[in-house]
Symmetry: C2
Subunit: 342 residues, 2 copies
């Protein structure tokens, strides 16, 4: 048995004796009016004769744009995401695209079914906030030629454009703020290193601690099961049970910091009186917490906008470079940090 | 000049010399693969020659379900909405529908362009959180036969199914809570009565005050320009400038209550020491505010779910009754209310 190569646009163009760009315009309902009817008929006949696959993902992508873009994210009720969605929308609507949102709840089955639904819907591209460092779903989408942009998190396999905050710089800001206040025993309440943000923030904490001359004590490092309040509380409880001394905490995100707040309240530990806490993201209402949370502001609205622009480029020019855009965060000092009481 | 009848699917089918059902399949991107390419080309050419309006609402509704539903809301970054979106999605995804979100920012032009985009996209129905009490846009959509469900807010013209919280009951809970604590001088920081929630909460405040035997003093009533923090702060400042005495405030929503918090902090007024404050909605992180906000919990996730179910019914049976579902809220007592200091 001979393995058949899939029929390409070039094959169709050659058979119809037209330039590939003409064949492409003729096959695409949006651009078909630009081609004369005789040529359209010839191209369609050639496509049919060759069995050019009209149902393949490639067809969805090449022949007719739906002007829809999918945004796949873990959970819209995570306060990180609504401003990012607004950024995406504000940029995409200008280009007459709309955004379809789907939540995966970090569940692999749900993610698969959500991505299937997006493909059936023939979205023109996908923005994914769900990347894992090794992510077969993303590999599959890339192989299928789906225009992709990753936000917030990236994969290690590269080759996919991404827009993220600069985690290394951001954690450095958090740590140096605490060091400048005089803290030396600084704990890290991290998040799973199976996703890029978890790993990058952990690595950044370790490397900035070393370069600031702060002891990196394994007993002061703990990891929440996820970037959420309850897992953050559990991790902070675990840290307290170790009975090691520390005067400050860097949390891998604001919700984890919130979990630390909960345990501090529960155990009568004063923040920032006894322990200073720095969060990450600057989610909405971080300034309204008690105490208002010192945190690292990630420009999530801007991440959404830039991701939209990058996706539109990728849709127009599938061969364009895989840019990895990192936006600079900013330290926001509020009421949850102060010098240690000696 | 002769008034032209709109070109119908039958006209296109006749011109292309195919059966109308074939023309329909050829015009619909979802079913087009079922028709041979030569026929597709003929139908598309006929449609173009006749000027068949491929974007008409009728076509979107009759020829092909898109299995997409639009959710038009003022602003996704208002914390009320993400849980509502999750409720919509959880219910609609089960029926293989997806949700397209669009923000209007309470801007009439933007609303019009967003609704146009939804119609072009041929959504199968719309969920609107943007209703005004008199709303020509909704009238237009109804006349066009678009399946609609209103959430949160309703119109006064009736005839459109809606799912809302029971504002009358909810404001009653807030007011009676304060009365039971011993408050008699209770201010109301309201919201525009041009939308149903603003009017209903205002009316509920007045009627519950009367039935509880509380004086309804016009000097204690003030209205924020919108359901947001800064307008809430401005309204509360205006109230304080009147120099009338009060010991408690009912705010028309949590963000307005948050504006009252801001002004209280700014002017050194203790909450709840000097003034008790009750919010409305129980938005995420209301429990994390300082002090944690006593508020009326509106089941927004459930509103989303029920709206989805109602919309699916309406799509399947366009003649079904216009149900007005009101979900019961619940008082959540936290730290922002206490008995008045006499």
């Amino acid at each position: 048995m001979v393995t058949q190569q899939p029929i390409t646009l070039r094959d169709v163009a050659r058979a119809a004796e037209v330039h590939p760009s003409t064949a492409s315009r003729a096959l695409n309902v949006e651009t078909r009016p630009l081609v004369n009817d005789g040529t359209v008929a010839r191209v369609l006949a050639a496509a049919e004769a060759l069995g050019y696959e009209p149902n393949s993902l490639a067809r969805g992508l090449k022949l007719n744009r739906t002007f829809q873009v999918g945004f796949v994210l873990p959970d819209l009720t995570n306060p990180l995401f609504p401003p990012m969605v607004r950024g995406l929308e504000d940029s995409l609507n200008g280009a007459k695209y709309t955004v379809v949102i789907a939540n995966t709840d970090n569940d692999a089955d749900k993610e698969r079914s959500v991505l299937d639904a997006m493909l059936r819907r023939r979205v023109d591209g996908l923005v994914l906030a769900t990347a894992r460092r090794h992510d077969p779903a993303i590999d599959g989408l890339r192989e299928a030629g789906m225009p992709l942009v990753l936000v917030n998190r990236t994969t290690e396999d590269g080759g996919v454009p991404s827009v993220t905050g600069d985690d290394h710089a951001g954690i450095g800001m958090a740590l140096r703020h605490l060091v400048e206040l005089g803290h030396r025993r600084i704990a890290y309440v991290g998040a799973p290193t199976s996703v890029s943000t978890g790993l990058a923030r952990y690595q950044a904490f370790v490397s900035w601690a070393r370069s600031e001359g702060i002891e990196v004590d394994a007993d002061l490092m703990v990891s929440a099961d996820w970037f959420q309040e309850d897992p953050g509380a559990n991790a902070f409880r675990e840290l307290l049970e170790r009975d090691v001394s520390f005067t400050a905490v860097v949390a891998a995100n604001d919700l984890i910091a919130l979990g630390c707040y909960d345990v501090a309240t529960e155990q009568g530990i004063s923040v920032p009186g006894e322990v200073s806490i720095v969060g990450y993201n600057d989610m909405p209402f971080a300034d309204k917490l008690s105490p208002p949370l010192t945190t690292v502001h990630v420009p999530v609205y801007e991440i959404g906008r830039r991701a939209a622009d990058l996706l539109l480029e990728t849709i127009d020019q599938p061969t364009s470079m895989a840019d990895a855009i990192r936006l600079r965060p900013e330290l926001i000092v509020r009421g949850s940090t102060q010098p240690p009481v000696s």
